[in-house]
């Protein structure tokens, strides 16, 4: 039972993260893989605020979230300077660089990490309490994203994905929009990080690296980008299915890699067979490749397409 509760807690945390990532990635169309770093920054910030400055836990979590929103601004500004494709690499570099800093600072416990972080749930029912708090967080995040997506801001985001320049010519400011959406997404991740820190009470930098990036990305992809329920479904699926291996009671040396392999194979299946994700449909949303307006199946070998592209390259 405890095991199931812990699994549910992990799934719920992943859900909040995935929903937040979908905001910047799916709806914003900004190819950032650095999401886990805000998760990590939020976790460490909240932990340190409570441990070093005796800030009460709820306040620490909120402050950590706000700090993460602010920390996302440099990354958002970078996104304006480089092309979308290269930004994947830029955001990865940002994530790894910040991670290295955390890995080397004494105050964060360096690679050994931070332990004995204070918690808000005590007693035999603590897992239940934590899960309760997280379910509220998931619901709140869903409501937030849904409100946003269906709002005028959400409409502008879709337009920005379709044609940023045409949107600018109408008087809307994509720069401001990108900074806002990054900040909100990072704030959500930071909030989740704070919760994580005070639930599991132990942090190491390795929890926020490239594997976490991949895991989160796949949750969003498998669930369906630019959909409201997609990330939640993706998080549930990708957290629970690999864990099913636990029921086989294999030794860790075998079970660990197999669990990882199940995860990887699942991702590959979805990438190739159902790129729009579980919740992604064909009309107006869903799927990593959907936002650019590119029509799939448009053969790149047709002579007229080739000539068109050549003309672009040569410069007309």
């Amino acid at each position: 039972m405890e095991y199931l509760l812990t699994l549910a807690i992990l799934a719920a945390l992943s859900a909040v993260l995935a929903i937040g990532l979908n905001l910047v990635l799916g709806y914003g169309g900004l190819l950032s893989v650095a999401h886990p770093i805000f998760y990590g920054l939020g976790a460490y910030a909240s932990a340190l605020l409570t441990m070093q400055a005796n800030v009460p836990i709820p306040l620490a979590i909120v402050l950590a979230a706000l700090g993460c929103a602010a920390a996302s601004v440099p990354l958002a500004l970078c996104s304006l300077r480089v092309s979308g494709d290269y930004f994947v690499i830029v955001s990865l570099g940002f994530q790894l660089a910040v991670l290295q800093i955390i890995n080397n600072l004494e105050i964060t416990g360096a690679s050994g990490g931070l332990s004995r972080i204070p918690t808000f749930a005590h007693g035999s029912d603590r897992n239940l309490i934590c899960l309760g708090v997280l379910l509220v967080a998931v619901a709140a995040t869903l409501v937030l994203v849904r409100t946003l997506v269906q709002s005028p801001f959400g409409r502008a985001l879709t337009a920005m994905r379709n044609d940023e320049e045409a949107l600018s010519a109408l008087g809307r400011d994509p720069v401001r929009m990108k900074i806002s959406i990054f900040a909100l997404s990072a704030g959500i991740a930071g909030f989740a990080g704070g919760l994580y820190a005070h639930i599991f009470q132990f942090l190491t930098p390795s929890q926020f690296g490239i594997e976490t990036s991949t895991a989160l990305l796949t949750m969003v992809v498998v669930g369906g980008t630019a959909t409201i329920w997609g990330p939640l479904v993706g998080a549930l699926l990708m957290t629970c299915v690999p864990q099913a291996i636990q029921f086989l009671d294999l030794p860790q040396a075998i079970g660990g890699p197999i669990q990882g392999m199940i995860f990887s194979v699942l991702v590959l299946i979805f990438l190739f067979l159902r790129p729009q994700g579980l919740m992604g449909g064909s009309r107006g949303g869903g799927g990593l490749d959907a936002w650019s307006g590119r029509r799939p199946g448009r053969s790149s070998r047709r002579p007229d397409v080739i000539v068109e592209r050549l003309a672009e390259e040569v410069g007309s």
Binding site: L144, T147, L148, S151, P152, F153, G154, R155, A156, T158, A159, R161, N162, D163, E165, A166, L167, S168, A169, L170, G171, R172, D173, P174, V175, R176, M177, S180, I181, L184, R283, G284, G285, W291, G293, G315
Partner: protein, 254 residues
């Protein structure tokens, strides 16, 4: 009457290609200016320079007495410059109505915080904008498709949509890039009617067009460009009489 949009000494080159060679031009309210010339003359580039898609190498652009050449695209649009594109560039994932709502000058979604924290005000602003949007859709005869996706429209309809979208902001200066290109029949008639209406309303309109008949009918003034330079600027019928210009134009086209 003084010009509301003034371009002074604009220059721009891309490597060896000069797209703007010391262009000085003014657009006055209530005037419909036809920007004509052979392909590659720099007409669309001039629009791009004015709206902010590209930055000039030198020169100034003034809108309503304020210098705008250092401003971003979105900021210039906020100052009242509206444009249409040669290839419509509507937002395919959105409905026609949504496309138009994005053109409102005062858009509730410009601020993320306002969207989240002041839903009531947003709703009110949207309701007003929606009324205007539907009126514009009526004018371009697309009101019945208001809730269809823009990607479902034909090419001609997309251009009408682009036109309506540009009118949403009620900007003082309207730049139309080949609104009649690849458009015919009923769409042509609707487009022409809308442009005439705008001219009567007192906007400063500038149209890039190849259709000489259209220019003669609609434009009070013509500007002839070739190879990045303004070669002639005056009443349309006088322009049409200049032999060397017509030779240049039709010679190039032949």
């Amino acid at each position: 009457m003084s010009a509301i949009l003034q371009v002074i000494g604009l220059r721009k080159r891309f490597g060896g290609i000069v797209v703007a060679d010391d262009i000085t031009l003014g657009l006055r309210p209530g005037e419909v200016v036809g920007l004509i010339g052979p392909n590659g003359a720099g007409k669309t580039s001039l629009f791009n320079l004015i709206t902010g898609v590209i930055r000039p190498d030198s020169g100034t652009i003034m809108m309503d007495g304020v210098r705008i050449d250092t401003l971003r695209l979105s900021e210039r649009a906020q100052m009242g410059i509206a444009r249409t594109w040669q290839h419509a560039r509507s937002f395919p994932s959105l409905t026609l109505l949504d496309n138009l709502l994005l053109g409102a000058r005062d858009y509730p979604g410009d601020s993320l915080l306002r969207t989240l924290l002041q839903p009531g005000i947003s709703r009110r602003m949207e309701a007003e904008a929606e009324q205007r949007a539907m009126q514009l859709l009526e004018r371009v005869r697309l009101a019945h498709k208001a809730h269809d996706l823009a990607s479902d429209l034909s090419y001609g309809q997309q251009k009408l949509l682009g036109m309506a979208r540009a009118l949403m902001s009620e900007g003082a200066c309207l730049l139309l890039d080949e609104p009649m290109a690849a458009v015919e029949g009923r769409t042509y008639a609707i487009m022409r009617e809308v442009i005439e209406q705008e001219a009567h309303r007192g906007q400063a309109v500038c149209i890039v067009e190849h259709n000489v008949g259209f220019i003669r009918d609609l434009c009070s003034r013509g500007v002839f460009m070739a190879a990045g330079k303004v070669l002639a600027d005056g009443p349309v019928d006088e322009l049409m009489k200049m032999k060397d210009l017509t030779a240049l134009y039709f010679g190039a086209a032949a």
